[in-house]
């Protein structure tokens, strides 16, 4: 799905988290929102997911105005920073949650839900953990379960907030490849937030460098490396 961000700004009380920003995300792209904390990248992601509403501007999904669309109707698969798995549910029920939450008319039958959950557990290469609780998983496993839960609703896009932030370096490298594979397999437009320039450059097709609520530069990793648009970008990507 093609995402168009048209002059979005966001104010919290008296402070501006986002100055009007505009950005076009082509369908099927893997995009990194890169910037230091306070740059507005997470706010922009939350606006895309419908968890935050912009003070001004529009969001368009495939050319359709989605600015006022409720969080439920956006059908965005969101992976939260600390994964936000339902701690009182098994992994199976976590992944099945979105399917069970559908209205009766569109809810798949029990056996079909079980089949889809099993398939997703295979996709994240953790076929045997359905009966466990989130607290019994490692950080890397939790992240993958969160990804499977987001994919279960057959989302129109994937939004990930610092998906590798809480993991150690070894697991991080492994899961980066995992996300790349899942993206390539599903073809979903994917936006992830990171403060790690190496991660953004290595993983993304398109990198959006942000600072102080503004977009500094948009480009392919190689182009940003070769031709940083501002001194902030130059300093940030060499840091």
């Amino acid at each position: 799905m093609h995402i168009e961000i048209d002059g979005i700004s966001k104010h919290f009380a008296s402070t501006a988290a986002l100055h009007p920003v505009s950005l076009s995300i082509p369908s099927g792209a893997l995009v990194a929102l890169l910037g230091p904390s306070g740059s507005g990248k997470t706010t922009l992601l939350r606006i895309l997911g419908g968890l935050e509403f912009p003070t001004a501007g529009r969001v368009l999904f495939d050319g359709q105005d989605a600015t006022g669309l409720s969080v439920q109707d956006r059908r965005a698969g969101v992976v939260f920073q600390s994964y936000a798995l339902f701690r009182h549910m098994t992994v199976f029920n976590n992944i099945a949650y979105g399917l069970n939450a559908r209205p009766r008319a569109t809810r798949p039958a029990k056996a079909e839900i079980a089949r889809r959950v099993t398939k997703l557990l295979d996709l994240i290469q953790l076929p045997d953990i359905g009966a466990r609780y989130p607290s019994q998983l490692s950080g890397g496993q939790r992240q993958r379960v969160a990804l499977a839960r987001a994919l279960a609703i057959e989302p129109r896009m994937l939004l990930l907030d610092e998906p590798f932030g809480a993991l150690d370096a070894m697991v991080r490298k492994e899961l980066r490849q995992g996300l790349r594979d899942i993206h390539d397999e599903t073809g979903l437009t994917t936006v992830f937030v990171t403060h790690d320039q190496e991660e953004a450059m290595e993983l993304a097709d398109l990198v959006v460098v942000m600072s102080m609520g503004r977009i500094e530069q948009v480009g392919r990793p190689a182009d940003i490396r070769a031709r940083p648009a501002t001194s902030f970008v130059r300093d940030f990507i060499t840091a």
Binding site: V71, Q72, A84, F86, Y97, A101
Partner: protein
Amino acid sequence: MSDITHPAGFRPATTEHPLTRWLLVGFAVLAMGLLVFAPLVAVFAEALRDGVTAALASLGNPDAQAAIRLTLAIAAIAVPLNAAFGIAAAWFITKFDFRGKAVLITLIDLPFSVSPVVAGLCIVLMFGANSALGGWLVAQGYPVVFALPGIVLATMFVTFPFVARELIPVMVEQGRAEEEAALTLGASGWRTFWTVTLPNIRWALLYGVLLCNARAMGEFGAVAVVSGKIRGQTATMPITIEMLYNEYLSVAAFSLAAVLSVLALVTLLFKTVLELRHADQLAATHRH
């Protein structure tokens, strides 16, 4: 690291000297025995002084029966209402940002800091026959003071903070991420509350409800002011116990006190059984 043997004279930094440990444990046991256990035993001993028959006979008295029924009815009305209000207040305070949050939290604590007698007097002033509102209600045939509604109001005022106070820290610690996740997965707000919020707070809620219930059944001061102490009508168990004791009917007083204690012990037992039964799940989800 218990498999490391320490050389003589050395011990881990967090371990006290054995003598200190025994003194502390001994003091705790002594205090518990003196302040909690002995009075409890005394209540039962005093109730059974003239034998089980006498104790049961005193409980068969119509006024005692009426007091037990009234106290149970008050708890049955006040506790569910306060549980609902407590959840609503905790939800509002922890999941939303707004001006005046600190003031609201202070207001919720107010019943803890105001003497129950003052609370009772406030209700008498508001709803008494001499006030405009109270006079009108009496004229319509719905007296509040010296009747069940007043006692329920007084009980609810005194027990209001229990549920909210238990829930607020738990809900603050859990944050909003799980609720947000449920919403992005397509769940409605109502479904999110029932399937995510409520299961996450259920142990804190249970604990708050049990405390609220214990206090609702045991409340004396506020109820004493608003009830008018009409025997067989508005006298709750604690008030009946006091009246019987003042009339030197100590077997009757202590029998009723024993029943009140048993009600409290049953709620504690109920909590313990639930905790034991769900021990696996508690361990897996780190909720206590």
